[in-house]
């Protein structure tokens, strides 16, 4: 088991190097460099050269990459060229805010997805199956940013029972007044994981149900629901793995929903950085989000191997 974990972590090193290279190349493909953004075009050339020298922009590319990588790896995520504040501080508080909606959303999506998927498979072929499968396929086809807008229109504009913008006061939500702000973004974010997980669970349950051990259980005289319990136990590892991946997708992909709800998370930070052309914030945010995604992947693999020993090859 430890060997499996070690190998999995070692394997992530070249991946992360590749990720950093992709981000660096994208960063360098931006038209103009930091000096162009920071100083007016009519400034004398000496000033531009001085700034380039200060940021090491006059060095050859591979030196620039190594320096940048070294800084990132040591936790120095750079300084925003817009606010002149260190990126790390801003990024981690934003990430915290994204976690606060992504985590409940993935749990909600997972619970609903497993329920719908299992019920659809249990009632396979009936109208209930069609209904639940329809809900699942709508979940993956809905543009969730649009759902967010529609929910704001219904619950904030027409009914006026839930706030449609912002996350309320800082800190951990404890009162209903505070939790209210979380309801719409969490439901909106949970739609995609709900659809994807329920489709996977339905397909898996149907596949496992045709296996021999299920026939044996039925021959033993076990009732339908008890058999379903055995089937679910076998379908759990892949559903859990998918839940982990979906959590990663939500962290990286919350930008659209955060824009709709004005949620001060990592997505909003990314959005702001793009429109301010704040390249240090942009590249650091993308790098950190991708790194988190890689780490989540490792955790998912290890957890899956813990549940199902057959995976530890």
């Amino acid at each position: 088991m430890w060997f499996f974990v070690a190998r999995r972590i070692l394997y992530a090193v070249p991946i992360l190097l590749g990720v950093s290279l992709v981000v660096f190349v994208l960063m360098k493909m931006v038209p103009g460099d930091a000096a162009d953004i920071m100083i007016p075009p009519e400034a004398p050339k000496e000033v531009a050269d001085m700034i380039r020298a200060r940021f090491g922009l006059d060095q050859p590319m591979h030196i620039q990459y190594l320096r940048w990588l070294q800084a990132m790896a040591s936790g120095d995520l750079g300084t925003s060229i817009f606010t002149n504040q260190p990126v790390a501080q801003e990024l981690f508080s934003a990430l915290g805010n994204t976690f606060k909606i992504a985590l409940p959303a993935v749990f909600l999506g997972f619970s609903l997805g497993v329920l719908l998927g299992a019920l659809a498979a249990y009632y396979n072929g009936t109208w209930l199956d069609k209904l639940f499968s329809g809900v699942a396929i709508a979940g993956v086809s809905l543009p969730h940013y649009w759902v967010g807008m529609v929910m704001v229109a219904i619950f904030a504009v027409v009914l006026n029972i839930l706030p449609g913008q912002g996350m309320g006061p800082e800190g951990f939500p404890s009162s209903w007044e505070h939790i209210k702000h979380y309801v719409l973004p969490v439901i909106t974010l949970s739609l995609i994981p709900m659809g994807i997980i329920s489709r996977l669970v339905r397909a898996n349950v149907l596949e496992i149900r045709s296996m021999e051990f299920v026939t044996a259980l039925q021959a033993k005289g076990l009732k339908g629901r008890r058999v379903l319990l055995h089937i679910m136990k076998n379908a759990a590892p892949s559903a859990l793995a998918l839940m982990g991946l979906q959590f990663g997708y939500l962290l990286g992909g919350s930008i659209l929903v955060e824009t709709v709800f004005n949620w001060p998370g990592s997505g909003s930070l990314l959005n702001l950085a793009i429109f301010r052309r704040d390249i240090p914030v942009l590249s650091a945010t993308i790098l950190v989000l991708a790194t988190i995604f890689v780490v989540i992947n490792i955790v998912v693999d290890v957890l899956q191997a813990l549940i199902d020993p057959r995976i530890r090859r």
Binding site: P14, V22, V30, M149, V150, V158, G252, L256, T259, A290
Partner: protein
């Protein structure tokens, strides 16, 4: 006991007779699709949407960019605007038709490119194996390390907005999963007996790929690509919604949604319309993909 007693081994003449009477794979796929009423209905609906959007000038009632200060955000039915007007008084029906052109283009073009590039890479990786395989698959792993929306946003955010960059960003995002499917199927088929037989009889790699492997890879890729189009439409509209995709004054469903965002406080029904089109179209592609999966008996 001989082999014939335990297992029913068909005689050669029998096999030939059955092959002649039987139907080809694609014939059976077509028959199964025609018998599937849901998929058939959805395909007809999709064909209607595509036709109306492509032939937008025939169906549009107004000039999609003609605005009017006096007719802003009117509800459906206002003075000949049967779907209402947008925030600068442009006819919503005409804009949805014209906007669909770009939305569909952003849905289909990246997937087509990704299938061509990713499919070839996957075939090469799967067929050659060894170091070529590792090289291709490990570089795909790097792109896999980005959650898909993030990669598209990173590319568009760094390179700037515009139709070309949107298509480029989505193509790069979709290549890795296509490569993975093509590689998996090719690796499975490569060691199958009929491929061994073809190789032993002196067939060149090109013709083995062309006649034996491509046929097996095509089904799964087609099913997956259809569902990718649905994702592509949602993501492309999402990029425009963020202001990273198609630039104004062009009409595109995501961009229209972005422009109408503030209008949700004034006229929610009108503001929700472009999003409904994104939903319906992407749902159609997903349902067609499901239908194809059943008809082609594909598992991915």
């Amino acid at each position: 006991m001989s082999l014939q007693d335990t297992i029913a081994v068909p005689s050669a003449a029998d096999a030939v007779r059955r092959a002649e009477a039987g139907k080809g794979y694609w014939t059976r796929v077509r028959e199964r699709l025609l018998a599937d009423r849901v998929t058939l209905t959805v395909m007809i609906l999709l064909a209607c949407i595509v036709f109306m959007v492509v032939a937008a000038p025939l169906f549009a009632t107004h000039d999609p960019s003609a605005s009017s200060v006096f007719a802003r955000l009117k509800s459906p039915g206002y003075k000949g605007h049967w779907l209402g007007t947008d925030e600068v008084g442009r006819d919503l029906w005409s804009r949805i038709l014209y906007g669909g052109r770009l939305s569909l283009l952003c849905g289909v073009a990246p997937v087509t490119l990704a299938v061509l590039i990713g499919g070839s890479l996957g075939l090469v990786a799967g067929y050659s194996g060894g170091i070529v395989n590792s090289l291709i698959m490990r570089s795909m792993d790097v792109l896999y390390a980005f959650p898909s929306i993030l990669l598209a946003i990173a590319i568009c955010g760094m390179l700037g907005s515009g139709l070309g960059n949107t298509i480029l960003a989505l193509t790069v995002t979709f290549i890795p999963p296509v490569v993975r499917i093509a590689e998996t199927v090719t690796t499975q088929v490569r060691s199958a007996e009929f491929v061994e037989a073809a190789r032993a009889s002196g067939a060149r790699p090109i013709s083995i790929i062309r006649f034996h492997i491509l046929n097996n890879v095509l089904g799964p890729i087609l099913v997956y690509a259809t569902s990718l189009i649905s994702i592509s439409i949602i993501l492309a509209a999402g990029l425009s919604f963020l202001g990273l995709g198609v630039t104004p004054p062009d009409a595109e469903w995501g961009l229209m949604l972005n422009n109408l965002r503030q209008a949700i406080w004034v006229n929610p029904l009108v503001a929700a319309l472009p999003g409904a089109m994104i939903f319906i179209t992407s749902m159609c592609f997903n349902l067609v993909s499901d239908g194809l999966r059943t008809a082609m008996d594909v598992r991915i």
